[in-house]
Symmetry: C2
Subunit: 576 residues, 2 copies
């Protein structure tokens, strides 16, 4: 008798399981259920549909050869049966049946299965403040929401918008609304930085300033206390101000939708994520689960995390398909590879942040590098910013983050680090990592090699550094006296002049090429902070001075470039 494989949920993981299984098993009966009408769409494309870059919603539901992945398509091309507007409301594991309700007709039915796959995805977290459930407050949980928002926006009904939450979706939505539609957009984030957990604060500052440069207002460390409606217009009230808005989008994260599994007595984490083994079986071996409804091991920390990514759902779908067909495939976990585009910036990260690494009991350091993404003489080169987090004791790479205008180049670098993190590599491996080299696409010493070199130099005690945040907090305060702390800026006078003018005797400029002849001009302060544009020349000077001076001397990581691009210290420099 033919086996029946029932799959609950027909976006991302579900269709992938169905298709992979069909290619391996020509006879099994495969049924895909979904409570919505739209299935098998690219949910990650929603911000680009709202921005208008993706003109028609059908594009998100089509194959690369422009055929809509409709139930008909699944039937004819994949030999998979699809039932939309069919909600699974219960699983009877003893009888191996799923109780479903046909939402169009309101009829209940029992569907027997031999193998069941739960692909119920995630659901948006609710903002728990008064007014969060008003009809004008939208989330972005599915295509219906997306169509509703785009509809209002394109009719010109939205002059101002407030986005609550500055995670990836909040930032993408800010671009979508502000860039093409010219909507006055404000983003409010509870945490002190945007993209929390994904970027070091100094890196997040770069993105924040970029958004502000594109006309988005960004408030961090700000709590929404209520949402109010008056005469058809809305107000977002925070602990600091009240903002009027025609459109309010909450994007405060998602959580796994494990309710059906929990009700069926399957093992579920306290956060609601379904627990699976490496073959992606739940605690009932006839039931698999994958995609946004499960939690998976983080390969750096070893802990279970919820990391909802369409890319992981695809890989997991293939694993489940293989396993149901009688093959053997495993999914080991995640290293947290992540990318987002915000206006012109490409942003990517992997692994864990410095702060998280400390919480996990590592002894981490963070190396910052600012370097062109191509050979520095190649015309289209742009600066790329990279942070590399490594463990002092084991020298393991724990995380990496990159930002640059050439997003493909940024993502390419982070993917390389991702592959090394997955294999638990040390920084020596990254130092020697053989990046393909040609001037239009890379420097002879690629930025990932440079970052590993900086990290090695820090661990060896050769590079004694101060991070941009600490620099700002100790130097920019008014109380600092020149005898306590001075900056030695080794850039050219044209670059240094505005800083010297602003900070007076606390910011001294001696260009690197004159330094060995002007050792006596070096400030006599108790502590010296060396500064150049990126932190590379100032490191050389640090090494030079090591044998010549005995006072406490540190090198500013990321140099003036990181401070400026992050809006932490902005003065106009003249180009020589």
């Amino acid at each position: 008798m033919k086996r029946r494989v029932l799959i609950i949920g027909a976006v991302a993981l579900g269709p992938k399981v169905a298709c992979r299984l069909r290619r391996l098993d020509p006879v099994a009966e495969i049924i895909l259920l979904d409570q919505n009408e739209y299935i098998s769409y690219g949910g990650c494309g929603i911000p680009y549909f709202i921005s208008g870059e993706v003109s028609d919603i059908k594009q998100l539901m089509s194959t690369s050869f422009h055929v809509v992945r409709s139930p008909q398509f699944f039937r004819d091309v994949k030999e998979v049966e699809v039932r939309t507007r069919t909600r699974a409301i219960d699983i009877n594991r003893r009888k191996k049946e799923v109780i479903v309700i046909d939402l169009s007709r309101g009829v209940e039915e029992s569907l027997p299965y031999d193998v069941l796959v739960i692909a119920t995805g995630s659901k948006p977290k609710k903002l728990s403040v008064p007014g969060a459930d008003l009809p004008g407050v939208m989330t972005l949980s599915n295509l219906h929401d997306a169509i509703a928002i785009r509809d209002r926006v394109s009719k010109g009904e939205v002059g101002s918008a407030v986005i609550i939450g500055a995670g990836p979706i909040g930032c993408e939505m800010a671009e979508a609304l502000a860039d093409l539609w010219g909507i006055e957009t404000t983003v409010i984030e509870l945490m002190p930085q945007i993209l929390p957990g994904l970027l070091e604060p100094a890196m997040a500052n770069i993105v924040k300033k970029h958004m502000e440069d594109h006309g988005v207002t960004v408030y961090t460390s700000e709590t929404v206390t209520s949402i109010e409606q008056e005469n058809g217009s809305y107000r977002v009230v925070t602990d600091k101000r009240t903002l009027k808005a025609d459109l309010i989008i909450t994007a405060v994260g998602v959580e796994p939708n494990g309710e059906l599994a929990r009700k069926a007595g399957l093992l579920v984490t306290p956060r609601g994520g379904i627990v699976v083994n490496k073959r992606l079986q739940t605690s009932d071996p006839s039931i698999y689960a994958g995609g946004d409804c499960i939690e998976i091991p983080h390969l750096v920390t070893g802990k279970l995390v919820h990391f909802p990514q369409g890319s992981l759902a695809n890989r997991q779908g293939r694993v489940i398909g293989t396993n149901i067909a009688g093959g053997y495939a495993v999914f080991e976990g995640t290293v947290g590879s992540f990318a987002v585009k915000v206006f012109e910036l490409g942003i990517a990260s992997v692994g864990i942040s410095l702060e998280r690494a400390k919480c996990e009991g590592f002894d981490p350091v963070c190396a910052y590098v600012v370097q062109p993404d191509r050979a520095h003489f190649y015309p289209s080169q742009q600066l790329m910013y990279m942070a590399l987090i490594v463990d002092r004791k084991t020298r393991r790479i724990l995380g990496a983050q990159g930002i640059g205008k050439n997003g493909d180049a940024v993502v390419g670098r982070i993917n390389v680090v991702a592959s090394l993190i997955a294999s638990k590599a040390t920084i020596e491996v990254l130092s020697n990592m053989e990046m393909a080299y040609t001037p239009p696409f890379a420097s002879a010493l690629d930025i990932v090699n440079a970052a590993a070199n900086v990290a090695e130099n820090i661990l060896e005690g050769l590079n004694v550094t101060i991070d941009p945040e600490e620099f700002c907090s100790i130097f920019l305060g008014d109380a600092v006296k020149p005898e306590d702390l001075c900056v030695l800026d080794v850039r050219s006078p044209a670059n240094a002049r505005p800083y010297v003018e602003k900070f007076g005797p606390r910011w001294v400029n001696i260009p690197q090429e004159e330094l060995i002849h002007k050792l006596d001009n070096i400030p006599k302060s108790d502590e010296l902070i060396l500064v150049c544009n990126s932190g590379a020349r100032s490191y050389e000077v640090l090494r030079q001075l090591q044998s010549k001076l005995s006072r406490k001397t540190r090198n500013l990581q990321g140099g003036v470039a990181l401070l400026k691009t992050g809006g932490m210290l902005t003065l106009e420099e003249s180009d020589e």
Copy 2:
């Protein structure tokens, strides 16, 4: 007493050793020698200087902060002494002395050393045909050549050029001359394909066609027999034709410049590469060597290879600097990471080709994938072409190649595979490799994952494939009869029509979505080749038909896209 470290050669490796060593050792005396006047320049930038993209030769000799790396710069900033126009002519290892000649004054001198570094680089291979040494026949061995060529070109003296050799430099030079200067450019290659050894023939075809589309004439399988001069103009004579040219550039490869080392009795390979251990010491422990003058282990084959890359020279320079300073650093070898830009195409490869893998005793297969570089619904997406070579027995990844208009995206993918090849990973690791995902920069299932999946499917016998070359050789011949061999094209009628018209009953079109209802229309030929645009849909059909048909059925790898883009089969298709 201060140690004296003498470094012969002041481009790439030499300066890197000097700078790294200085940062670790503030007291050693460091002397850099070079027989040329120009030092520490980015030699890989020469094609971009000739094209005019890099406007001033000084840019190739400058730091990223626009300071020329002159002897003065090295003295003041790096505390390293540089002697230009100083040729090392002999090494007296017993006395630890290098005999040098000052080329300006013609004076010989002995320079004692404690540690010696040989960084004599490579030299262009000579074309051994009559006339190869005529004055108008140029190589690209240093900045002097580059300046001479650009000088002639910019004066309008060059109407036509012949480039002998279609390796990376030949291809880059073709672009440099044809694109900006509009010179009628011909490239002649001895081998049956361009970029031999770096790309599979089907992949190389894409680059060749792209060059031809940009007006460059490319002749492969063609041997230059002589170069003749008559009344100031030149003729290149091949086994097939005679070509007039105002400028002739030979780019037939380089070989290690190990002569000085050989004369000093150091171990040198038959090809002239200096032999070093992992710490980059020669057979004399006081003498280190690195960069283009050494041979290094290939980490896939285990054999010594000459792989001259500025990027490797930089990494090796750091290793040598660390070791001289008393540290411990090693250089394990190369995986052959490579990139080149040719007109709008970015091309990258790593590891070994299918052909090389066969020679090395592997049992290799090659998987081809054609896929968008971004989410297929994202507006700026472009097709990327990838080949992945894996060993059937060990499932190890042996090589990968990528081509696309988004060069950063191509290089990023190949770098990821490079990191896996270095760790001897199997395709399963690449299948599950967690590439950062966001629609503007990747598909949910990235092309590298897809390539690994295809390779797995081939090894498992699920995907029975025919490569584009074999397809062309067996199908495009006139002798094939419809009863022997037919193509089943599962694309839309609009795409398939011109092929059906051209090949008649040998090319049958049944769109994938109609196939299960039209099984009887499938040609009854002894062998069936399934075709779609990329090889993905036709693979699905292969799996579908597996249980329904019993005759020999194969899937065309890379589909019509690879055939068309490589100019192997070009017919006009209408867009639906």
